[in-house]
């Protein structure tokens, strides 16, 4: 086992950031900590990174603790913190070279990493002149410099455009094949789904759910969704009679409703017939599988991107 977090708590003034969290991460596993802002993800990973000290509980990494083996652990953990700003007027290569020096690495490794993060063409560019995506790739490059056993990335793609995000995902996907244990915090469910086999959903300092995407959807997210907007009176009573409907919701103010159903193909025709034969008009319709955000909403009453 690579990381073991046992009954860890952490508070800041009056806020309980992490409440009695326990977590085990196996070697080579890719784990996403998914949750909205303020869920406690960053505090939890900062305790794993040795940046914060838990108020209570225990964290063991590679069978070692921060109190006794800080120097060893610093060499074995690569990390990218949320919103680190590197020195504006050092070049990409100088920045990587400086951090390589901290790990006792030479220029060969710097060049390898430049290639991995696809910034060879920007090697002589000052950091201040890089785009947001390039800066995040540089942060990732610094994290992977020492060929760490554990890689911890705190919201590595927050604020990036979709293209920059995909570029970073591609680099990370390639890097995963080296067998490094990956812990990633994010509030993008697509990122968690794409990069990690295991997803841990957090809210208000607690773990709400833990498992693979399929396990989570099976366990907490039975059924598909039919979402609609109608102009007229509430058809909820009739929709309950359609058959195959697990639950239904309708907001009289906005006209928005949704049905959780066993099978879209079975229920949708009946629903459309119902609308056709009633005095209401359908202004919008969307059918889809349930997502992690739906699960999170059902469990916490909040969306992941809140």
């Amino acid at each position: 086992m690579t990381i073991e977090v046992r009954n860890v708590c952490k508070s800041f003034k009056d806020v309980d950031a992490v409440r009695n969290v326990s977590l085990r991460v196996e070697s080579g596993e890719a784990l996403a900590l998914l949750g909205p802002n303020g869920a406690g993800k960053t505090t939890l990973v900062e305790m794993i990174e040795g940046v914060q000290i838990p108020d209570s509980g225990e964290i063991k990494i590679l069978e070692k603790t921060w109190a006794k083996d800080e120097h060893f652990l610093r060499k074995e953990i690569g990390l990218a913190l949320q919103e680190t700003r590197f020195q504006d007027r050092l070049t990409v290569e100088e920045t990587l070279g400086l951090f390589a020096g901290f790990y006792g690495l030479n220029q060969v490794r710097t060049r390898e990493v430049l290639e991995i993060i696809q910034l060879e063409s920007k090697r002589d560019t000052w950091v201040v002149q890089l785009s947001g995506g390039q800066r995040q790739r540089l942060a990732l490059g610094i994290a992977i410099l020492p060929r760490p056993q554990i890689l911890i990335l705190d919201e590595p793609t927050t604020g990036l455009d979709p293209n920059a995000r995909r570029d970073l995902w591609k680099i990370l996907e390639d890097f995963k094949s080296t067998g490094t244990t990956l812990i990633l915090t994010t509030h993008y469910m697509e990122e968690a789904e794409f990069l990690c086999e295991r997803i841990v959903m957090m809210d208000q300092g607690e773990i709400l759910a833990d498992g693979t995407l399929a396990q989570l959807l099976d366990k907490f997210g039975e059924g598909d969704l039919i979402e609609y907007v109608i102009d007229g009176s509430n058809p909820t009573d009739e929709t309950n009679l359609l058959g195959g409907v697990l639950s239904c919701r309708w907001d009289s103010e906005t006209g928005q409703g949704n049905l959780t159903v066993n099978s879209i193909s079975e229920t949708l025709p009946k629903f459309l017939d119902l609308i056709k034969n009633s005095e209401v008009s359908l202004t919008s319709l969307e059918c889809r599988r349930r997502t992690l955000d739906d699960l999170f909403l059902a469990m916490s009453g909040r969306h992941l991107d809140e």
Binding site: E46, E49, G50, V51, Q52, H71, R74, K75, I77, L79, L81, Q82, E83, T84, R85, F86, Q87, R89, L90, E94, G97, L98, F99, G101, F102, Y103, G104, W126, I142
Partner: protein, 369 residues
């Protein structure tokens, strides 16, 4: 030198020289300041002293009285009735004075006084009763009064002969006083802004937290900052001295070894203070405030630009234990008085002590994350 320490120092040099603004404030500004102040307080000639002549007669409020023209030797029909008059008295340096008189009403004089345009006004005439109106606590106004009184006196007692012999030799000029003060100020600024502010900025950028999450030893990181600024600060001092040497003909009269000791101890004191100041600050506003709280009182009190001996007696013992005062006095002693190692050991130990205490306290409080 440890290779990573060397690498860190080199990186910081690169960052320094890639910021033209920072280079100017570090190297250019002290030289420009020395040049401006050195010029401003040397060869400036006599100050023109503005004096208001107030009359209560509204009919002649815009004209200077006849007695003034007579006194100044400009009794001339052409000038009579003018509202402004310049008068230069004295023959030798030291007793020369230049006055500019302006006729105005009392209301206008009060306003001019409030605006600092005059420091004194005159009412009446020598035949009746000449009265001077000024703030007796204002030293400049008192000097103007004394100079005017001497100039207006028609018969000067000649029983006691007095002679003014101007002192202009190297070492006692204002610029000799100023340059060591500027050197001390430059060391303080190099440390507080160069080390303190840089560390605060690294914390704000979360780069400090990122750096200490690597195997790099914190001591190496801090030493690299101290070493980098020490080299730059020594270069700043040298540049300022070279300028003063060639432009103002200033020579170091005392021991170079003593100068090196004082520089090192002053640097250590302010580097320690910089570490302490930066230990917990987490945003730009607090960082600015903290550095200004420390520097401003010393700028004012420590005798950089003017002697602190004009402050009240009770304050002077406190002023003399300020690190900037100790550093300035020691540098001034070495450069202008020619003192040696023995005389600077005590203040240097004091400065090393201040540095050590602040550094230890700063490290204890330091917020790395």
């Amino acid at each position: 030198m440890n290779s990573i320490l060397f690498q860190l120092v080199i990186s910081q040099f690169k960052l320094f020289f890639r910021e033209p603004g920072v280079v100017f404030w570090s190297f250019g500004f002290p030289v420009v300041m020395a040049w401006i102040l050195g010029i401003a307080f040397a060869n400036k000639g006599e100050i023109l002293r503005n004096v208001a002549i107030v009359t209560e007669n509204p009919a002649v409020v815009s004209a200077l009285p006849k007695w003034l023209h007579e006194k100044s030797g400009t009794v001339d029909n052409q000038l009579s009735g003018e509202a402004e008059l310049e008068w230069e008295v004295g023959m030798n340096a030291g007793d020369q004075a230049r006055f500019r008189f302006r006729a105005m009403s009392e209301e206008e004089a009060v306003l001019a006084l409030k605006r600092g345009q005059i420091s004194l006004w005159i009412e009446g005439s020598p035949e009746t009763n000449l009265s001077y109106r000024f703030d007796p606590d204002n030293a400049d106004a008192r000097l103007t009064y004394l100079l005017l009184e001497t100039a207006f006196r028609e018969k000067i007692s000649s029983e006691i002969k007095a002679e003014i012999r101007p002192l202009t030799m190297v070492g006692i000029r204002y610029v000799d006083f100023l340059i060591p003060g500027l050197m001390a100020m430059s060391i303080m600024n190099a440390c507080l802004w160069g080390i303190g502010w840089n560390l605060i900025e690294l914390r704000i950028k979360k780069l400090l937290r990122r750096i200490v999450a690597t195997p790099l030893r914190k001591s190496i990181f801090l030493i690299s900052h101290g070493l980098n600024r020490m080299i730059l600060s020594a270069a700043e001092m040298l540049l300022l001295y070279i300028f003063a040497y060639f432009y103002f003909d200033i020579r170091i009269q005392g021991s170079l070894l003593a100068l090196a000791l004082v520089f090192l101890s002053g640097y250590c004191a302010f580097a320690g203070i910089a570490i302490l100041i930066s230990s917990r600050v987490q945003n730009t506003q607090s960082g600015n405030g903290m550095i200004n709280i420390v520097t401003m009182p010393m700028f004012i009190l420590s005798g950089i630009f003017f002697s602190y001996h004009n402050f009240p007696d009770w304050l002077i013992p406190y002023v003399e234990v300020l690190p900037l005062t100790m550093l300035t006095n020691s540098l001034r002693g070495i450069i202008t008085e020619g003192i040696g190692l023995a005389q600077v050991i005590q203040p240097s130990l004091g400065l090393f002590g201040i540095g050590a205490v602040c550094f230890a306290l700063g490290l204890k409080l330091y917020l790395w994350h």
